[in-house]
Structures are given as structure tokens and as C-alpha cells.
Amino acid sequence: MKLFGSGHGACPGCGLPIAVKSVLEGTGPCFVANATGCLEIISSQYGKSAWGVPYIHSVFENSAAVAAGIEAALKALGRKDEGPVVVFAGDGATADIGIGCLSGMFDRGHDILYVCLDNEAYQNTGNQQSGLTPPGSNTTTTPSGKVLPGKIKPKKDMVSIALAHKAVYVATASVAYPRDITRKAKRALEFEGPKYLQIHSVCVTGWGVDGKQAIPVAKLAVETALYPLVEYENGQLVRVKKIKDRKPVEEYLKLQRRFRHLFKHPKGKEVIAELQKIADENAKKYGLDA
């Protein structure tokens, strides 16, 4: 049986199904807890489920806790051999509204792979900013205006938050590299305990990207070091995706409607410089430059 099927309702060119099928390719049959959001809406309409694995959606902010309950039940009922437990939650569900449940899941050490599908805003409801929206992004709740150049603050550092909880495996990935996602999902399951995988996923409508440009744009996020691909095992950085001839952030920004204003806004240069600084710091911190 397929673990995730065609006929789901994702927009053409959406990154989420790429992320999901790549994770499931690595995990095999598993239990999925999914937060309210794009993925849930495109895959779990009554009578039209796209899932070939046992799947549950409860509410927006509790998928980490629901997964913890599944894991506990499997343990209590002696059914742990049925498969691993995986969470799929969006960036808002992870970094904002659901961070309490996620912290509890980490803290109690549940044997769960938590996958954050990071499309950098509440895209299901129309591109409202989340804690993982990057600075300068023009969202419907942080619009650019005469004074403000879009979102002000940087992305919440979920990797550090996961590491601070002593999650056994922490990694970032991108829909630009599906085979890497599969490898990381598989690798994650070699560790017992809470695991965190954050996957950068293009939202063609929210970001204002042509469907055909989705993967090239996702690649540029990695190639500019704005989205570093890193991998921690037991708290140690073990692998990073090196970048040959790192590109300036403008190349990534100019392809997306959400950043278009930065090229004419009075504060645009400042924000672009800030983004470049973030990229430079990522490159330095993780030793990304090949």
C-alpha cells in the first residue's frame, strides 16, 4: 500500500507533498499525527484521505502531545513493533501555537520523529506571519507599508530550541533535496528518543513563486546559506551541506513576491543587508562554504 497518495488537494508545485512522501520513504509504515494546517487540509477531508498510514489530526497546537499519546499507548499495549510515530506540523503549529506541547514531548523523551514543515508563514489561512517567517517577508499580518518593510524579527531558532531540549537527532532539510530528506528521516529513526527535522518547503501562493520555480527557489535558500542544511546527533553537529560559490541573498529574494518590495522600499536595503548578515553568520557558524 502507498503511504501517501495522489489526489490530495495541494496547490500545483507545493513543496509539502514532496516533503511528506520523502519522509515516509525513509520511515516506512508509521503512525502520523498532524497539526491543523495546509497538509491537514489537503490530505484529510472526510472520505478523501490521502494517507496510507494510520493518521490522526486533533487540533492546531497539540500534534506533539497527540503523538506522545500514540507512543504511550503502543508501549502500554505492547504494539511498539507496529511502526514509529511521526508528527507533521507546520511552522506556526511548531514554533508558535504548539511549542508548549513540543517542549513537553522533547522533555519527556518520547520516541517520536517530529517533522516541522516550514513554509515560513500560516499559509493555509493566507500567508499570515509565524515565528518562522523570515525578516522582510511581506505577509498579510506583517505587510510592507510606507514605514514598515514587512516582518521585522528574525526566524525563531527552532534548531537551537530542539538542541537545548537534548533532542537526540536534530536536522534541517529542504524540498530541494528530497533524497536528503529520506536519508535524514531514516537516520533519525536509528535514534531512540525525540527527534526534530525541519524541512524548508516552498509555498507557491504565499511566497509568490511560479510553480515551476518552486524547486529552484528552494535550492537558492540553501545556496545562499539562508537555509543551512545541518544535522546534529546527540547534540553534536555531524554533517552540513557545503555550498560551492555561495550566492548573494538577492538572488533568492528577487524570485519571490513576498520580498519584492525590498528592492524599492526605503528600508529595503537595510533588510537585505540584515538577511545577508544572517546568511554570512550561518555560513560561518556551520562552516558551509566549500
Binding site: 500500500m1 502507498k2 501517501f4 497518495g5 495522489s6 489526489g7 490530495h8 488537494g9 495541494a10 500545483p12 508545485g13 507545493c14 513543496g15 509539502l16 507533498p17 514532496i18 512522501k21 520523502s22 490530505s43 484529510s44 477531508q45 472526510y46 472520505g47 478523501k48 484521505s49 490521502a50 494517507w51 496510507g52 498510514v53 528530497p178 533524497r179 529520506t182 510553480g211 515551476k212 520555480q213 518552486a214 524547486i215 529552484p216
Partner: protein
């Protein structure tokens, strides 16, 4: 009408939703260019490309090429962009041709 306890759904019922009529374009596989690398398969967001056997190559090895299931293809064009072998081109559906 029949409804299930707590709105539990059966698996993979999405397969009855044919999303193939969504897009304005569709991919065409240029078989002679296709190396069967499977990149389009792993990237396809609609899980509607698979590799199928099309006989054997000069060395007698099984040759596989990409095949699109147009029932579900939304015509996003991702496959054509990620293909390194110029084996997929996008064409406008007849309905939308000027």
C-alpha cells in the same frame, strides 16, 4: 447516508479525486532523452510519475523511463525543471491553446 464513527476515513480515498484536470499544462516525456534517473519521480508533488520498463538498452540492461499518470498530474512543471536530461517538456493543454 452512511457516516463513520467520529469521521474516521478509509485510507487513500483521495485516489478517487482525479486532479489531472487542474492545470493548463501537462508534461510530455521525451523517451529517447530519459535516462530513468528517477529525479522527476522523487520531486513530483502529486506522486504521479513512475519509472516503467521499455525493453533493454544496447548492453542488454533493462531500460526504464518516466511515465506520467495524467489522472493526477496538476501540470506544475516541477518535473520538467528538475530533469537534467531535457527529457520532459511542458505543453499547453488543447483546451487552453490560443
Amino acid at each position: 447516508m452512511k457516516i463513520t464513527l467520529g469521521a474516521v476515513s478509509r485510507p487513500l480515498e483521495s485516489l478517487k479525486i482525479k486532479t489531472g484536470d487542474w492545470g493548463t499544462e501537462y508534461p510530455v516525456i521525451i523517451e529517447e532523452n530519459c535516462k530513468g534517473c528517477g529525479d522527476c519521480v522523487v520531486y513530483c508533488p502529486d506522486l504521479c510519475i513512475e519509472l516503467v520498463e521499455v525493453g533493454k538498452d544496447e548492453k542488454g540492461k533493462v531500460r526504464k523511463v518516466a511515465k506520467v499518470n495524467y489522472d493526477y498530474c496538476k501540470g506544475c512543471g516541477t518535473c520538467s525543471v528538475v530533469c537534467k536530461h531535457e527529457a520532459i517538456k511542458m505543453e499547453i493543454k488543447e483546451l487552453y491553446r490560443g
